[in-house]
């Protein structure tokens, strides 16, 4: 067995999985609170990537230095994604809070179509080259054949975001309110939790992680267009379900499992059927654990 190749695939899987996990977080948090599959979440990630690209290009032309560009462009991406997430919730989901669940899903699909075409019309349908925001570190040179410094940055950033998020959910006041709302929205309301604020906060946090994912993956892949949100969105959603939707560690685990599955299968078997295998694996896991790897199976009292 070729251990170096194995290690390469293993780390490649982690890189992919971290991106899925970052985006899956938004799905899982929103689902945990209002039980909505937020189809427009992938589009938020796409808008984050576009904002970063636009701001970075403007700044490069204005002659800023590399570090300032990375910081400002990523900051703008996060800011704008949050703003979009917040606005979408107010426009398309809030009026539907008491409506049948599928209606909200269709509204989300409509929003997703709208945003895709909005970017398509306002920008372009072509693939735009995305500048590599992360430089190659010199000290990492000896290991770069196994994992590039870009991938390293992706993994480390994801880990930091996850840790921060865990602290936020576990210990902050808004985190407590979020957990309470997820358990029982009416009860939380009775106890004085401002549910509207909690839902807005959920969308904002989810959008922020999606934007970070967007910037990282765009600078890793090197090009973006208006359609990238949809495919990655579906994959991230699969990751969220795989881990057990509604559970935050589940989203991370689901993302990693999906990343590894794809990476190993593409590396050892065939890259044509990589997605097929990922979906078969999903079906397989759900058949044996119907509520995901970490999801609790809910037994209902009648």
């Amino acid at each position: 067995m070729d251990w170096e190749y194995f290690l390469e695939l293993f780390l490649g899987g982690i890189t992919r999985g971290s991106i899925y996990a970052l985006i899956a977080l938004g799905y899982t948090m929103v689902y945990g609170i209002i039980e909505l599959i937020n189809f427009a979440h992938g589009e938020i990630y796409m808008i984050g990537a576009f904002t970063a690209l636009i701001i970075a290009t403007v700044l490069t032309m204005a002659g800023f230095n590399q570090v300032a560009i990375v910081v400002i462009a990523s900051g703008a991406a996060v800011l704008y994604s949050c703003a979009y997430g917040f606005t979408i919730e107010k426009l398309a989901y809030k009026p539907l809070r008491n409506a049948p669940r599928l209606s909200a899903l269709i509204s989300a699909i409509g929003m997703s179509l709208f945003l895709q075409n909005y970017v398509l019309l306002a920008q372009t349908s072509d693939f735009l080259p995305f500048p590599s925001l992360i430089p190659d570190f010199e000290f990492w040179e000896p290991y770069a054949h196994i994992i590039s410094s870009q991938e390293l940055v992706i993994i480390i950033t994801t880990a930091i975001v996850m840790i921060l998020l865990t602290f936020l959910i576990k210990f902050s006041k808004i985190g407590k309110a979020m957990r309470a709302t997820a358990q029982d929205m009416n009860m939380a309301m009775l106890l004085g939790v401002d549910v509207n604020l909690v839902i807005s906060a959920t969308f904002i946090i989810g959008s922020a992680t999606a934007a970070i994912g967007g910037v990282l993956i765009a600078s890793h892949m090197g090009q973006i267009n208006f359609y990238i949100g949809f495919i990655v969105g579906i994959k991230a959603f699969v990751a969220a379900v795989l881990g057990g939707i509604g559970s935050i560690p589940g989203a991370v685990l689901g993302g990693l499992v999906l990343g590894w599955t794809e990476s190993f299968f593409a590396g050892y078997v065939s890259s044509d059927y990589e997605d097929v295998f990922a979906f078969i694996f999903l079906v397989f896991i759900l058949v044996f654990r119907p509520s995901g790897i970490l999801g609790r199976s809910v037994s209902r009292k009648v």
């Binding site: 636009i54 269709i106 509204s107 306002a122 500048p131 044509d272 078969i280 999903l282 058949v287």
Partner: protein, 402 residues
């Protein structure tokens, strides 16, 4: 509500400012990374500002009106029924309406051009498969995001049989339906234990698996290049011109759609149909009443798949060319939108939904590049203002006669 108070205008002003901020990078700046050019389009900002100012006034006004209407109906003072619902329920309205629609449908290909007839055939195919999905989603309450897989199975079984063995349309129709039925059962089995959104994602997975296999397995399905020169439907061996054949396909579709409506309508009131509705309302209670959940779910899946299979065969015969690109997840989503937008469980609603969703983008072609934008916005607006769909299903009530 007073529309033009100072506070309302102030609110709209801030909303306009918010949207100007929101759309700033994407609407105003356009970068060309190849030639390192930046185009600033400040005029867009003005449009966004003015547009969102007025739209926000209208939006809040209509939302307020809708909420006031909901409160009224809650207190039971005025049971406001929509125009459509009235048409459906009063014989004085629906009898002439059905006759007019029937005559219109019969003479349609002679009044309108071949192009229009072709669009109508497509719409009727969607009506048929949406009625099939209505069984799964609307009646049995199982969210299926991979419905297009069965559509693909039907289309490919006809295309392959025709390509290899020269089998005609009429022989392939039952074969396609049977294949889709079998696939429905095969895919139904593993998902029986799943609930709600887990089911949705597994069906989505199945849809993608089938599409990807069709795309990659070149020896079997000819890969992304697809299969062409599929025979059009035959009429007892009579040679028809292209024009004649399209008209023939149109009537064929009218017939198949009527057949579907008849069957689905009968199914709905049958023992199995009532079991589906019970399953949708409450799985546990349904089981407690002695209904076999497994069997009920499987029949819903398989019967829904059958209609998709038939639709697929007709689709392949109509376009004479198919490739995996016609069976993407967007197709599933559009069909689901038809069902939900039309009104889940309601047959007339689903038919109207198909007409709205298929004809709307078609006639929006005048706005060419904006049509999908408008389509997306229309979905959101429709759902916000009529979350139950155009025609919501009216549950059958039985009254004692004195």
């Amino acid at each position: 509500m007073k529309l033009f108070t100072i506070s309302e205008i102030k609110k709209s002003f801030f909303i306009a400012l918010w949207f100007m901020f929101l759309t700033f990078p994407i609407m105003v700046i356009r970068v060309n990374t190849v030639e390192n050019e930046i185009k600033w389009r400040w005029e867009n900002m003005l449009f966004i500002g003015l547009g969102s100012f007025f739209l926000s006034i209208i939006w809040r006004y209509t939302i307020e009106k809708k909420e006031a209407g909901e409160k009224k109906s809650e207190t039971g003072k005025s049971a406001e029924i929509s125009f459509f619902q009235q048409v459906v329920e009063t014989p004085r309205f629906y009898v002439p309406a059905t006759i007019v629609t029937g005559i219109f449908a019969l003479v349609f290909p002679f009044i309108f051009s071949i192009y229009q007839t072709n669009i109508m055939i497509t719409t009727l195919i969607y009506v048929m498969i949406a009625l099939g999905l209505n069984i799964v989603v609307g009646l049995a309450g199982l969210l299926d995001l991979g419905y297009v897989a069965f559509y693909a199975v039907g289309a490919y079984s006809y295309a392959l049989l025709n390509h290899h063995y020269g089998i005609g349309f009429w022989t392939a129709l039952p074969i396609g339906a049977a294949t889709a039925f079998t696939f429905g059962i095969l895919l139904g089995f593993p998902v029986l234990r799943l609930r709600g959104d887990y089911l949705a994602i597994v069906t989505l997975g199945f849809g993608e698996i089938i599409r990807l296999v069709l795309e990659n397995w070149n020896e079997f399905s000819f890969g992304p290049s697809g299969i062409d020169k599929i025979s059009r439907p035959g009429l007892f061996g009579i040679e028809l011109s292209l024009h004649g054949n399209i008209i023939y396909t149109y009537y064929l579709m009218i017939g198949l759609t009527l057949f579907t409506i008849f069957v689905v309508n009968r199914l709905k009131d049958s023992r199995i149909g009532r079991a589906w509705i019970a399953l949708r309302e409450d799985e546990t209670a349904c089981q407690a009443m002695g209904i076999d959940n497994t069997k009920t779910k499987l029949t819903a899946f398989a019967l829904g798949a059958t209609w998709a299979g038939i639709g697929g065969v007709v689709f392949a015969a109509k376009t004479t060319f198919i490739n995996p690109a016609s069976f993407t997840i967007w197709e599933s989503i559009i069909i689901l939108c038809i069902v939900v937008l039309g009104g889940m469980g309601s047959i007339l609603g689903v038919i109207l939904g198909a007409f709205i969703l298929i004809l709307l983008p078609e006639y929006l072609r005048a706005f060419s590049e904006f049509r999908m934008l408008i389509f997306g916005a229309a979905l959101v607006i429709m759902m916000v203002f009529r979350p139950g769909g155009v025609i919501s299903e009216v549950r059958k009530t039985y009254k004692f006669k004195k």
